[in-house]
């Protein structure tokens, strides 16, 4: 079998001479452009954005400088915002505390401190009260002062029998009034 036979050549010549005709190049053009523009729109085109923002600057190095400066500013802004947000987050987690000085307290005072903390926690929701160490110290001092005055008063009453009788009488009256009520 010789492929170069006459019939084979005739058929091939006929096919070679008859080139397929593309009748609608315009349709293909339109369709291709349509598809390309679709693809282009769906993508973020950086050069177009840069042109839009800095197209008004005609000197090359000035334009490049502006682009660099704006990128730097944006980065600094983002960095700053990050720091601020982080700081706000940290502060919102903290419950107490303004005073930086550390106060050395004896053991019994720490117990008192704990008790006051516990009591304040029972009466109020813990998150609604914020109290500094300074305020706490003041409060404990007042409590001590009050205790001393109470002891002094007891001594005075013990030393004066008439006053003691008068007070006892008053206490009885007060109790009666409470019962009557």
């Amino acid at each position: 079998m010789k492929p170069e036979s006459e019939k084979y050549d005739n058929v091939l010549n006929l096919l070679r001479e008859s080139k397929p005709v593309l009748d609608s190049t315009e349709d293909i053009e339109k369709e291709v452009i349509k598809r390309i523009t679709k693809v282009n729109h769906s993508q973020l085109n950086l050069p177009e954005i840069i042109d839009f923002l800095f197209g008004w600057v005609y000197i090359g190095w000035v334009r490049r400088g502006l682009i660099a400066a704006s990128i730097l500013l944006v980065l600094v802004f983002v960095f700053q915002q990050g720091i601020i947000l982080k700081r706000i987050g940290m502060l919102s987690k903290q419950t107490v505390i303004n005073d930086k000085e550390s106060v050395s307290t004896p053991t019994d005072e720490i117990e008192k401190l704990l008790m006051v903390y516990k009591n304040s926690g029972r009466r109020f929701p813990s998150k609604t009260i914020t109290i500094s160490e300074k305020q706490m110290k003041e409060l404990l001092e007042k409590v001590d002062e009050l205790k001393n005055k109470y002891k002094e008063l007891e001594n005075i009453i013990e030393g004066d029998p008439e006053l003691k009788k008068l007070i006892e009488k008053k206490q009885i009256e007060t109790n009666r009034t409470k019962i009557n009520l």
């Binding site: 492929p3 036979s5 006929l14 053009e29 291709v32």
Partner: protein, 181 residues
């Protein structure tokens, strides 16, 4: 030959120049696609797909000589895809009447220009038993007039494989021609 300047201008995103490129490229892309697929609509689809791919990858093209080989490669690969999809469809089988019509066309000689439908019919009948590679090699070599080196570059198969595929394709077609015409 397509001017490299035109390609460079297209790279800058100029749609008008790309229209020109489509206009210049479509006919020979269509010729290969139509001869391989034997279907006008599918060939047009392949041309469209090819042009979109070209637009997306224009940056890779350095010379106009590379451009043509590159386009052929894209077209052939897209045709392979189409042929793979089509494998499930029943093949076109020629009856005696069709062979009679083809015989008449051939007897009239290469002076007559065949219509697309006639070209499609003849190629489909002659190449119906060929593998996709054999068909591609036959179309590129015997119908498009390319050398074995070019075909090897376009299809990505070795030169010896090109020769072997071409031999089998010619043999199969010759047998058909001898048998029916």
């Amino acid at each position: 030959m397509i001017d490299i300047k035109l390609i460079e201008e297209c790279r800058d995103g100029n749609f008008n120049n790309f229209r020109k490129l489509v206009e210049l490229t479509s006919p020979f892309a269509y010729s290969v696609a139509f001869r391989m697929l034997g279907n006008e609509d599918q060939a047009k689809d392949v041309v469209q797909e090819t042009m979109v791919t070209i637009w997306q990858k224009l940056k890779k093209i350095k010379t106009s000589q590379v451009y043509k080989t590159w386009i052929y490669r894209i077209v052939v690969n897209k045709c392979y895809d189409e042929m793979r999809k089509r494998k499930r469809n029943p093949e076109f089988v020629a009856d005696e009447q069709t062979w009679g019509v083809i015989s008449n066309m051939i007897s009239e000689g290469p002076s007559i220009a065949l219509e697309n439908s006639e070209i499609s019919k003849i190629i489909s009948i002659l190449t119906e038993r060929l593998s996709t590679k054999q068909k591609a090699v036959f179309v590129l070599s015997d119908l498009e007039g390319m050398s074995n080196d070019e075909i090897s570059e376009i299809t990505g198969i070795s030169k010896s494989a090109v020769k072997a595929n071409l031999y089998h394709a010619r043999k199969s077609i010759s047998e058909k021609i001898e048998k029916f015409l």
